[in-house]
Symmetry: C2
Subunit: 171 residues, 2 copies
């Protein structure tokens, strides 16, 4: 019947997020917007994506409030796409994918196949490898020392994470 199921109704934030950005192209479109490609044609030629697919992706992303579509001239109408605050907050997802790919998806037989992109932290000016860390004890968080549990299973006094506060305007 349907060629895709919706995950949006699942009571799980991962499923709901994937419902919006979980397909092959969407995150790559976002990656290029982060890198400064804002126009339809830039995205098209940079990604090698079919125009009809790009049209649909851009519409979905703007409908979801992740991108913003703005006319930068009127005659003829021309548009540019920029990330909203909501879209900016997807940056960690891209960083996480980047780091995993850097570690595992390189061609080991090709010595020239170094990761071509590095993350630069403006605050301190260094090329870095950001890592998830615990705001409480500041040590690194990985699948080895963390797990997710149903909120209901947590002892009441440990439910101190204000998970999902209202969308922040800045930072």
């Amino acid at each position: 019947m349907s060629a895709r199921k919706t995950f949006g109704t699942q009571p799980c934030s991962i499923a709901r997020t994937l419902d919006v950005v979980g397909d092959w192209w969407t995150l790559l479109v976002l990656r290029d917007v982060f890198r400064g490609a804002h126009r339809f044609d830039e995205l098209k030629s940079g990604l090698g994506i079919a125009t009809n697919v790009l049209t649909v992706r851009l519409k979905r992303l703007t409908d979801a409030g992740i991108l913003e579509r703005r006319a930068y001239q009127e005659h003829p109408p021309r548009f540019e796409y920029t990330v909203t605050a909501k879209g900016r907050d997807l940056y960690p997802v891209l960083i996480a994918l980047l780091q995993w790919g850097d570690r595992y998806m390189r061609d080991e037989s090709d010595p020239s196949d170094a990761p071509p992109r590095v993350v630069v932290h403006d605050t301190c000016g260094h090329a870095i490898q950001p890592a998830f860390s615990c705001p409480h004890c500041r040590s690194e968080v990985s699948a080895q020392n963390a797990r997710t549990v149903a909120r209901a299973d947590l002892p009441r006094e440990l439910r101190n994470a204000r998970s999902a506060r209202a969308p922040r305007r800045n930072a």
Copy 2:
């Protein structure tokens, strides 16, 4: 012609990673394996995924070295799927998706729609919201204060990030 393009040939770690885990189902399968679902049937009924699609996804993930397929009994042959070290390192991707969904994908009109899962850090025992931080200056990394640049564009003395060292066996 083809209904999907391969990103694996792009010289970009994000693209290469999405080539493996970038579709609608793969990361959800992985999520459930992290949560302790290891058998075909558990995954099937937990996800509501079609069996043929699950078969293909599990095969892709084991071929990619992200999951491991092990017979847990011989007669009749029964298998279980567990994450490898490579698969475990995808945990940050799921965390990143979880946190974004917690912030943006809740139903604001439904007060009972709290995020049902929280991350617990075994090391300190607290429910936490892990954040990407810079190992150098320890401040939070976001799209606001970081960007990716082509490695070649970096001043030589700042190329101090050993990005993508060989796969670690532990931690």
